[in-house]
Amino acid sequence: MNGLPQALDALPILGLLFQFLGYMLANLGYMSQTTVAVAVPITLAALCGVMCERSGVVNIGIEGIMLTAAFTGWIVGVAAAGILGAGIPLPFFGVTLPLLIGLAAAILVGMAVALLHAWLAISMRVDQIIAGTIINIGATGITGYLYTLIASQAPTSAGSFAQYKVPDQVADLPVVGWLINAVLSQGPIGLSTIVIVIFLQVMLFRSRWGLRTRAAGEHPRAAETVGIDVIRLRYKNVVMSGALAALGGAWLSMEQTNGFNADMSAGRGFIGLAAMIVGRWTPLGAFGAALLFASATGLSTSLTISPPTGDLGQLMAHVPGEFWEALPYIITIVVLAGVIGRSIAPAADGQPYERESAT
């Protein structure tokens, strides 16, 4: 039976394609697991964007919220571990008390930063893109400042959340076992992301809150006439969405790694915004787009860890490593430019709302 694949692989040019397919199939399990993991912060950023923009507020400060939350989660975890001791990890996800305190602090700080954006964008009616940029610059500056101060004291780490181990009976299931294994082999933030995606999708299109949010984003004046407090609703949405972006930031410093780096969010907030646009401002669509963008990272990590052999391997050896690192960003640009015409933003997106005076 091995004759046919070998013959296909030996074909000129087209053979490379078959070799590539073969490589993909062989490494699919690993690649899928990485892809889902990498998609987690992008998805959370995109969900933050969906909640904001569906109610009419453009938020490009997501990147800054993630960075601040990543820093806060890490440093509060370290401080809590210093005071309380590392504690005994609970039997699931390696959860310890310091980690939980760090996570809670990250979420609170993320919501506080989002509140600043809401105040600038909704109450002060500042250009929303400028407001978001200010948040990004400030987040880089303040986390950089504190990190330089703290790094001199050589802080330790509060550890990180552990992955869920899929039972062997499930992972060994024929046909679907590997996929379930790949999707569910995540930490607590990763797993909750999948739940949040579905929850938000239902809420946005099936609940009173969702209807009101969409109304505020499409036609705030009309929404106000039927008794919706547009300004309050926008505040609520932006602040709550800050918790989602913060969760994405916490994933970086508490689930993927167990420490903080300057600028560790590395543009994920913006990739999330691109995922939101490509996913047409729906939670499920954004999740799909995030998976697509993340698959580039999945492929490139797989190529570095287990490089392909044969002709394909020789060809790949000529591709500089930097290309694979840049690939997720390139794919984001290409996909964004490709779908944009067919993806329409909420009508009142980014427009400050001013209540008519009562006189």
Binding site: L120, T133, L149, F270, P320, E322, Y329, L336, G341
Partner: protein
């Protein structure tokens, strides 16, 4: 914001006085607002330094002396011959890139891609220096390297402009993504094609060995005044961009497209072409910023070479209200802060990242019109009418 309205001359003295007051305010307002925002931010920064002073080795908690020491070191870092030279070094790219970002603002485009355009411009200039600079003298190499920096920067700005014009992809997302792409392109160029063949670690050639040095040394010994002569290019660019914006058809079209893109389109302007052109010009300026920094300050690149100019330029453009003259002054100011922050870190131990945090705080106070709100509230307490008329209020609004 009209400055001297001709019809005010015939009016009664009282109204004329008021008009003169209005004119003074119209000139003073664009200066007073940023100055007020900067002072407030320095105050907030001082509180921040005090709150975190316990984290600094050798300082007690809530050390009120620390911000004083930090700001004094910051000033000392600027007010010396070497400090002035280093201020010019930092200001050159900030003015050039600030003009690029400001040009985008005028057209209603938000160019966050300064980092990538700067880096790609640096690669262009380095490529010329490594190839042409071996055999040609400075008269040929320097202009060619600057041209290459400008061309590479422009091409990096062209991509998001082209994508926006053809597909509508928002430049904020595409320029940020391209920043990361160009960071990796630069890594690759430094460790690959631009790397010195016999070096132990990947490193590029030194532009001083390649006839592309822009650094000027006046005097000698410890009193030598060292600076980047690229500042002359930045100073020349200010009137050029001003002329382009306010005295040419293209500038009029750029400002129209920024003020109201629909009206500009109905008026027969090719707005898509304008987007591509403006983004390319913005990239060109950022590319020049990269080229002059390479040739006049850093001389050589190793892997990891990066810049904060892209984001600083946004602050510069906002502080200068996208006006070329305003950008010149805000560029010099931020350059001085960057230069002084190094001394601050060395002498007072306060991390230089403070400047990044200060930038954000300055911008918050600037965009919420802190001065106007403060004056209005004071006026309201006294029971008089708000101090700022609609004209000045309009001037303070809408930075872009």
């Amino acid at each position: 914001m009209g400055v001297n309205r001709p019809d005010t001359i015939q009016r009664p003295p009282a109204r004329a006085r008021k008009a003169i007051g209005g004119a003074v305010r119209a000139v003073a307002q664009p200066i007073a607002e940023p100055v007020f925002a900067i002072l407030l931010a320095l105050l907030v920064g001082a509180v921040g330094i005090t709150l975190c002073s316990g984290l600094l080795a050798g300082h007690k908690n809530f050390d009120v002396g620390l911000p004083v020491a930090a700001y004094r070191a910051l000033l000392e870092g600027v007010a010396s011959p070497s400090g002035i030279g280093s201020t010019l070094d930092y200001s050159t790219p900030l003015i050039l890139a600030g003009l690029g970002v400001g040009l985008g603002f005028k057209a209603g485009l938000f160019n966050i891609g300064g980092r990538g355009q700067f880096l790609f411009g640096t690669v262009g200039a380095m490529a010329v220096a490594t190839t042409v600079g071996v055999s040609q003298n400075e008269i040929i190499t320097i202009p060619l390297a600057l041209l290459a920096g400008a061309a590479f920067g422009a091409s990096a700005g062209f991509i998001p402009g082209f994508l926006k014009a053809t597909s509508g992809a928002h430049e904020v997302v595409t320029t940020i993504m391209l920043n990361y792409v160009f960071v990796f392109v630069t890594y690759w160029a430094i460790s690959g094609p631009l790397s010195l063949p016999n070096a132990h670690q990947p490193i590029t050639a030194d532009v001083t060995d390649r006839n592309a040095n822009l650094q000027v040394v006046l005097g000698s010994g410890s009193h030598a005044f060292v600076f980047n002569s690229g500042i002359l290019l930045a100073l020349a660019a200010v009137p050029i961009i001003w002329f382009l914006l306010y005295r040419t058809t293209l500038g009029f079209e750029i400002r129209s497209a920024g003020a109201n893109p629909d009206a500009a389109r109905y008026g027969g302007m090719k707005t898509n072409r304008l987007i591509v052109l403006t983004m390319s010009l913005a990239g060109l300026m950022c590319g020049l910023a990269g080229a002059t920094t390479l040739m006049g300050v850093v001389h050589q690149m190793a892997p990891g070479y990066d810049t904060t100019v892209g984001f600083d330029a946004i602050t510069v453009a906002l502080l200068g209200r996208s006006n070329p003259v305003g950008i010149l002054f805000s560029g010099l100011l931020l350059g001085a802060m960057r230069a002084g922050s190094q001394t601050m870190q060395i002498q007072a131990g306060v991390p230089a990242e403070l400047v990044d945090a200060l930038q954000a705080i300055i911008l918050v106070f600037l965009v919420v019109n802190a001065l106007r709100r403060w004056l209005d509230r004071r006026a309201a307490r006294r029971g008089s009418t708000p101090s700022v008329d609609a004209d000045a209020a309009q001037a303070a609004e809408g930075v872009a």
